[in-house]
């Protein structure tokens, strides 16, 4: 072998061996992720190096945490991660779809077909499927008032695949409301404007939506109020602490009085800034019992805190930068960068500000705001792994709602699209293709069936029965999906099962590409230092 001559340490797999390795890897990865798919999928437990527990059903999380070594598996995993980056969902489907494509190809290749011909077939099938998808999708009008029901159905479909039913249904409302809350006409949706905060407290079903903001720190002064109503909110990015001068300065004094003078002088500029804020507070709170809250991105040192506390002002320091943006959106007003131009107009408003202490952690709630354009999803759960699980699910749920609003259309779920697409490929497209590429189209069509098949398998149903009953319904011209409770065909539209259009599109786009790449590999060469020998 030529490579061996060049480098005697290199490992080479060629022709069929290489192909089999890639196919096996794809199938192996499919096996792992298969049981995750759908609402009836099971949970995986991941144990980290330090013994920390993570429970997940999310394909993306799983792939990230598993630390895969096999080169083929890594390629597939990357596609899945790309899928997540673009659409936020469908990672598991991507992996099993690629696995299935490889499996179908394996059969053809064993029968002596050349991979190149298959790949050509894939390409034709892919284009046809995408076209079909565009005809198949259900358009949704997203005007100023989006149809909440549709959004809810999409969110529910996504969430139910990540969490158990009761919790998923509860989160559906939360997720949809939060996206609608931050949505502004004529602007893209910035999901970062939904703050996701967690508290280790109570049960997972106590998760709720806060119309306002929850900050994960509290005031640092013992005498500040814990609860205040009718609050003016000053969002600022002004340092209220003594800062050392840039140059290396020192004081020279020769008696204690002089030193005292120095001490006051040092603080004067900071005190002046604090005084300006206090003046503003006096101005807006004069004659009423309104309160004043400062949320500062920079620090506030103890002497300044003390001054503010004496005026009855609640001050929070070192807020997150992102929270400053959110605060302005939630409470109104504007973020100020200097105390010189303070006006009452730059203040925001919140009906209620209070602190919640949980063991060592402090949380500050800013609630009852007017016209919020930012909100917080407050996740609660008894332990970290529950919280992490909900967090991942909420992220995906938000993405699915956002996708729907941006796509302005949805696709029927529960495997309906896959079955319909297969029928379309076999009955219409295949006939238009000349020669052996037909087999590629057929393999692609069969691979699509993996989604309903796996759904059925995870629900403990008989896969063959299910596929037959689904296809026969489709042959009769009915678009049906799979009912996971009893294995009978249902109309996904009535059951409210909808998937994202962009998720499906990305899936059909990326799956065949990576599968084709893998099929066209005919030699795997491992060379270089520190080669890891397979653990046989």
């Amino acid at each position: 072998m030529s490579v061996r001559v060049l480098n005697p340490n290199a490992e080479v797999l060629n022709k069929t061996a290489a192909l089999h390795m890639t196919i096996n890897a794809a199938k192996g990865l499919q096996d792992v992720l298969k049981s995750n798919l759908g609402p009836k999928g099971t949970i995986k437990m991941l144990v980290g190096g330090s013994g920390d527990i993570k429970l997940t059903k999310d394909g993306n999380t799983l792939l990230k945490e598993m630390q895969i070594q096999n080169p083929t598996a890594i390629m597939i995993a990357r596609t899945a991660v790309a899928q997540d980056d673009i659409s936020g969902d469908g990672t598991t489907s991507t992996v099993i779809f690629i696995g299935e494509l490889m499996k179908q190809s394996e059969r053809c290749i064993d029968e002596g077909m050349h991979p190149r011909v298959l790949v050509d077939g894939f390409e034709i099938a892919k284009r046809a499927t995408l076209q079909f998808l565009d005809n198949f999708k259900t358009p949704v009008v997203m005007g100023d008032e989006p149809d909440k029901e549709i959004l809810k159905m999409v969110a529910r479909t996504t969430l139910r695949t990540k969490l158990y039913e009761g919790l998923a249904d509860q989160l559906t409302d939360i997720v949809v409301n939060s996206v609608l809350c931050i949505r502004k006409p004529e602007e893209g949706i910035d999901l970062f404007m939904v703050e996701i905060m967690h508290m280790r407290h109570k049960f997972d079903v106590d998760t709720r939506l806060v119309e306002g903001l929850v900050l994960d720190h509290g005031s640092r002064h013992p005498d500040m109020k814990r609860r205040a109503e009718n609050c003016h909110i000053l969002t600022c990015n002004v340092s209220l602490e003594y800062e050392k001068s840039e140059i290396n300065a020192g004081f020279f004094y020769s008696n204690a009085e002089q030193r005292e003078a120095m001490v006051t002088a040092e603080r004067r500029s900071v005190d002046e800034r604090v005084q300006k804020i206090i003046d503003l507070k006096k101005k807006v709170c004069a004659g009423n019992d309104n309160n004043f809250v400062i949320i500062n991105q920079k620090g506030i040192d103890p002497p300044s805190l003390d001054l503010l506390a004496r005026e009855g002002i609640i001050a929070l320091r070192r807020a997150k930068r992102r929270n400053m943006e959110r605060l302005v959106l939630a409470c109104g007003g504007e973020a100020v960068n200097s105390v010189d131009d303070l006006t009452p107009e730059s203040l925001g408003w919140a009906g209620l500000v209070y602190e919640h202490v949980l063991g060592e952690e402090k949380y500050t709630f800013v609630e009852q705001v007017k016209n919020p354009n930012s909100c917080t999803i407050l996740i609660k759960g008894p332990n970290d792994h529950t919280i992490a699980q909900i967090k991942d699910a909420v992220r995906d749920g938000l993405r699915s709602v956002k996708n729907t609003i941006e796509d302005e259309c949805v696709v029927l779920g529960a495997g309906a699209f896959e079955v319909a697409a297969r029928q379309h490929l076999l009955n219409e497209v295949k006939k238009t293709v000349q020669g052996r590429a037909q087999l590629g189209v057929e393999a692609f069509a069969n691979a699509l069936l993996v989604v309903p098949k796996t759904l059925a398998e995870n629900a403990g149903l008989d896969t063959q029965d299910v596929i037959i009953s689904l296809t026969s319904e489709h042959d009769n011209g009915n678009v049906v999906g799979l009912n996971l409770q009893d294995g009978e065909p249902i109309d996904p539209q009535l059951a409210g099962i909808f998937d994202n259009y962009s998720v499906k599109r990305q899936l059909i786009n990326s799956g065949p590409v990576i599968a084709s790449q893998l099929l066209l590999v005919d030699e795997v060469i491992r060379a270089g230092r520190n080669m890891r020998k397979p653990t046989a």
């Binding site: 061996a17 013994g51 096999n70 407290h201 049960f203 013992p222 204690a256 040092e266 332990n383 529950t386």
Partner: protein
């Protein structure tokens, strides 16, 4: 050729367990092991455990939260149970043992069902139905008239607290309960729901016995006064968070001196400055200065001269508590305090108890929000255990301030739940039925364990309990001293509704989570070689 399957794709050292036998049953086994450890500690006659943690610190306790905390459980499934217990401990502060033991029992019964051929998802749905029903029944079992209570009435508090404390320190619950109840009632704010556990402090002093324990309305600091004045009555207190010393600039300062004369003068001005400050404090009427930072020699000298007692509290939190005790406002810098900022204590004195010098600040008047339980005992581990019992008691008080409802204790509630749940299961059709029945049976472990731990015949007790409950006496519980069944209204064993509710909910949550997992992917253990080589070998089931 590479090996087929997932194992080949993972990094070296990763382990992958999947399937019913490998993952689910193994997980259940690990949880069972854990619950057998805690189970013997349940109830008043529970056994103590001796745990030596990784720092070689010795614990002798029957508090499940402490035991599982110090065990450093490695097994992922068992860890879920531990997390549930921790959640219970944080939420209520009591009932951790019930959480773990009950979850263990649920899983053990689930294993039987799995061996019978039921799928874990069916068991989960059954268990979920059961817990919904349990909550419903539990609410019916609430003792009528207990919805409202006077949280300042000692009798009512003690009756609710007794069971919780008795399960930790059986035989001493009367003394402890009255101590804890007194301490809690003293600091209970106007709105009882705002009761803060932090306001009841515990000071452990070696020596004496439990009978020497007492309540101090104020604080006990384990330190000496700084100066020579050790006692002060009816004194005003000034608190300075930043320390009592000469002030310094943030920027480095240098004293500019040209001659010897100036040097002398400088020292004098320093002195004069400090004297001026201390004098100002003294003139404001303060007789005690509490400093959060260092106390300078010179400042101390002038304090002595002006007959001011000086205390140093370096912990920021401790200082805040002191402020609450005395009703003082902490100043940052040494300056003349305004009269409003001064606090007041009835007496503050340095005393020696059992060879430890302590400073006791008392404040009998209103405005005081701190009370301290001074515990005495012969060994450190006894004191630690007493402290945990007090903590449980205080937490129970907090829980009852929020929700004062009570349910019968001494296993009466559990048997009633078991009985009604079984009836519910019989009415159910489908596979859930088996899971619900098993869930009901799981409750039997409570009377069984209570009786076992007390050396009674468990089967007899359970049988007679069932008979009693069957004939409509819903409050029949075990009287452990006489070894018979008695109405809990007579024995006065009551549990808080909230404790029981949360414990059962967390337990079934944890059990269902363990059942839901069908694959485990374990990373290689991080860090260097383990201290205990034998432990590393049996990495699958590390419970010891």
């Amino acid at each position: 050729m590479q090996p087929y399957g997932i194992q080949s794709m993972l990094k070296e050292g990763y382990r992958h367990l999947s399937g019913l036998d490998e993952a689910v049953i193994k997980n259940i086994e690990a949880c069972k092991e854990l619950s057998t450890i805690t189970r013997t500690s349940l109830g008043p006659n529970g056994m103590n455990k001796m745990v030596i943690n990784h720092l070689d610190k010795l614990f002798v306790t029957n508090d499940a939260a402490t035991i599982v905390n110090e065990l450093e459980i490695q097994h992922p499934a068992a860890k879920i149970l531990v997390l549930a217990a921790k959640a219970q401990q944080e939420e209520i502060g009591d009932g951790a043992n019930l959480t773990i033991s009950f979850a263990g029992e649920l899983l053990q019964n689930a294993e039987e069902l799995i061996r019978m051929g039921l799928h874990p998802s069916e068991i989960i749905s059954g268990y979920n139905k059961a817990i919904v029903k349990v909550v419903e029944i539990l609410e019916q079992l609430v003792e009528s008239g207990s919805e409202t209570m006077d949280v300042r009435s000692k009798d009512e508090v003690v009756s609710r607290m007794r069971a919780a404390v008795a399960s930790k320190q059986f035989g001493q619950e009367e003394i402890l309960c009255s101590l804890v109840a007194d301490a809690c009632i003293q600091v209970c704010p106007k709105n009882p729901t705002n009761f803060n556990v932090d306001n009841v402090r515990v000071a452990k002093l070696l020596g004496g016995g439990l009978h020497n324990s007492c309540i101090v309305r104020g604080m006990v600091l384990k330190s000496d006064a700084v100066g020579s004045i050790k006692r002060m009555e009816k004194a005003k207190v000034a608190v300075f968070a930043g320390g009592v010393d000469t002030t310094a600039t943030e920027t480095k300062g240098t004293v500019l001196i040209h001659s010897a004369e100036q040097l002398e003068n400088y020292a004098k001005t320093e002195e004069a400055k400090v004297e001026e400050l201390i004098k100002a404090v003294a003139e404001s009427g303060a007789k005690v200065i509490v400093s959060g930072g260092s106390v300078g020699e010179m400042a101390l000298h002038f304090c002595e001269r002006y007959k001011i007692m000086v205390l140093k509290i370096s912990s920021k939190f401790e200082l805040r508590r002191f402020c609450r005790t005395a009703g003082a406002v902490a100043h940052l810098k040494l300056s003349r305090p305004s009269p409003d900022d001064l606090g007041y204590v009835d007496s503050i004195s340095v005393e020696e108890i059992g060879g430890v010098t302590v400073t006791i600040a008392r404040n009998e008047q209103g405005g005081n929000s701190i009370s301290t339980v001074v515990l005495r005992g012969s060994t450190d581990s006894i004191l630690d255990d007493l402290e945990r019992a007090v903590d449980d008691g205080v937490n129970t008080y907090k829980a009852m301030c929020r929700d004062s409802r009570i349910v019968p204790g001494a296993a009466a509630t559990e048997i009633e739940l078991a009985q009604r749940l079984k009836e519910y299961a019989n009415a159910e059709t489908g596979l859930d039925k088996y899971a619900i029945t098993k869930y009901a049976e799981s409750f039997e472990f409570v009377p069984k364990t209570l009786a076992d731990n007390a050396g009674l015949n468990a089967m007899e007790i359970i049988a007679s309990l069932y008979t009693g409950h069957g004939s409509g006496n819903t409050k029949l519980g075990i009287d452990l001293e006489e070894g018979a069944c008695k109405d809990v209204s007579d024995t006065k064993v009551w549990d808080l509704f909230a404790t029981k509710l949360f414990a059962l909910k967390y337990a079934s949550d944890a059990a269902c989570t363990v059942l839901r997992v069908d694959q485990i992917i374990m990373a290689k253990q991080a860090g260097g070689p383990r201290r205990d080589a034998a432990q590393a070998a049996g990495a699958g089931a590390e419970e010891d």
